[in-house]
Amino acid sequence: MKLITAIIKPFKLDEVREALSALGVQGMTVTEVKGYGRQKGHKEIYRGAEYAVNFLPKVKIEVGVKAEIADAVIEAITTAAKTGQIGDGKIFVSQIDKVVRIRTGETDGDAL
């Protein structure tokens, strides 16, 4: 099982959610985060007081999926979240040791 963590531009969230839904991915966790990569921040000025804001708002999506569909999920996220501009984001894939559905106690594949 794989944990797919994607940092994307916030306005792309709905598109990504729909793309994953089409693949049969039943759920996800979404967090509002701040970050930067190659995309630089911006400058804010308040009555002469200048502040460089280096962190940009992003959205982090985490989905746990069966290993077999991991590549398809990555492909779907990439297509949906891409704009071609700097700052589109990154996807991290990590291994999940165990998954449990709290309500029923189902584990691993049955819980995804």
Binding site: I45, Y46, R47, G48, Y51, V53
Partner: protein, 446 residues
């Protein structure tokens, strides 16, 4: 004879008989003196008082609170709220008396009123203050109270993010009694500046230059905020600041037009002048900023509006629409430079630009009042460019200088005293963690 002529003759006879009856009546019993109360004036002045109170709560509270960081938002609003309450009570106890009553000794009367109205004991139902002869004294006292409230509350802007609440409340109290009340008496209560001919319709010097000067002294004495110049101190919620500024704008009609103390021609002209100057100032700040910083900020346009409100304050009941326009245009640009560039060059941490907007704007407005006061608008004033009265400029300058010097010195003494006893600045840890949680035990969540 026509019916019309008969009516006229009939009226004439009735009038003559009436006059006879009245004069005859006087011989038998003294007719009661006519009630000087004007219900239109009274209604307007009660309304004005409420409008000016709105300027402080929540106008100023939101304006300032929206500009500070999230960790200090409640503490900043608490300063406006707390000031409102303590000043109300002190005004009732002694403030009104020493500001707006006459001192029996003419030498003292130049500088201060009397204790005659301690606890407002002498304020009966039908009392009337000669300074406002057509409204109840209770209303005049309340109206002036709302000015006494907002003036010290304005100072909070200069010392934002770093003052102890206890020290602040002490500061509000002592400053009211030893700075605001004397100056109000000097200009409006029968004191030396008013009798000298200083023109300050609604408080350009009494309120704004006064508060601004105190703010400058206070921010210098408190010192810069930790991280000033390096740390991100961006406003937490500029929408609050916009709402606050808008409430200030609308409430200001009570401030300026209410200073007519009557509901009539002068109130109307003052209202018109206020609106024109404010909008003009917002535009001139906006355009100046657009030109120099390349973008017109929301903070800039609301600050410009406030600068206009401040500058038109002393002039509002003396100028015509054109004078108002010029004053507004000047105020936006001048205060933009004062708040943005002069502050940076000189390096003082006037956190919310109390000096830059209220101090500078008030002084500018006072001087421009001398330029544009029009005798045809208000017989109490004769301006330089309008009526050829250059001498008014000197009188205005005396007003500005007197307020600046007296306020500066007294503010320094008061803050020094408070600092030596309980301390005025919060500790480093409290300042870094935030005032809301440390001074008030509360936080804004979410």
């Amino acid at each position: 004879m026509t019916l019309d002529r008969m009516k006229k003759i009939g009226l004439g006879v009735a009038a003559a008989l009436g006059a006879l009856a009245l004069s005859g009546g006087a011989a038998f019993a003294a007719a009661p003196p006519p009630d000087p109360l004007n219900s239109g004036d009274t209604a307007w002045m009660i309304t004005s008082s409420a409008l000016v109170l709105l300027m402080t709560i929540p106008g100023l509270a939101l304006f300032y609170a929206g500009m500070v960081r999230k960790k200090n938002i409640l503490a900043t609003a608490a300063q406006s709220f707390g000031a409102t309450c303590i000043i109300t009570v002190l005004w009732m106890i002694v403030g009104y008396s020493i500001s707006f009553t006459n001192n029996a000794d003419p030498n003292l009367q130049k500088f201060i009123g009397s204790f005659d109205y301690l606890m407002l004991g002498k304020m009966g139902l039908k009392s009337i203050n000669p300074l406002a002869g057509t409204i109840p004294e209770s209303v005049y006292m309340f109206f002036q109270m709302t000015f006494a409230i907002i003036t010290p509350a304005l100072i909070a802007g200069a010392i934002a993010d770093r003052m102890k609440f206890s020290a602040f409340m002490w500061f509000m109290s002592l400053w009211l009694l030893f700075v605001y009340c004397p100056i109000a008496h000097w200009v409006w209560g029968g004191g030396w500046l008013g009798t000298m001919g200083a023109l300050d319709y609604a408080g350009g010097t009494v309120v704004h230059l006064n508060a601004g000067t105190a703010g400058l002294v206070a921010c210098l004495m408190l010192g810069k905020r930790i991280g000033y110049g390096t740390e991100n101190m961006a406003p937490h919620n500029l929408l609050f600041a916009l709402i606050g500024a808008s409430l200030l704008w609308v409430g200001w009609f009570g401030f300026n037009a209410g200073s007519a103390v009557t509901a009539g021609y002068n109130a109307g002209m003052a209202a018109a002048a206020t609106q024109i100057a404010t909008a003009a100032a917002s535009l001139s700040w906006m355009f100046a900023e657009w030109l120099i910083a390349k973008k017109p900020s929301v903070l800039g346009m609301i600050s410009g509006a406030v600068a206009g409100l401040v500058a038109i304050t002393p002039a509002s009941g003396f100028v015509d629409a054109q004078g108002a326009l010029i004053i507004g245009l000047a105020a936006g640009v001048v205060c933009y430079f004062a708040a943005v560039f002069v502050k940076k060059w000189l390096g003082y941490d006037d956190a919310l630009d109390t000096w830059g907007v209220h101090g500078v704007g008030g002084a500018l407005g006072a001087m421009m009042t001398g330029m544009f006061a029009k005798n045809a608008i208000n017989s109490a004033g004769k301006g330089w460019l309008t009526d050829g009265n250059g001498g008014q400029m000197l009188i205005q300058f005396y007003d500005v200088a007197a307020v600046f010097v007296f306020c500066g010195i007294m503010t320094f003494i008061i803050l020094k005293l408070i600092d030596m006893t309980i301390g005025i600045r919060v500790s480093k840890e409290v300042e870094v963690e935030g005032l809301d949680i440390n001074l008030h035990g509360e936080a804004i969540h979410g």
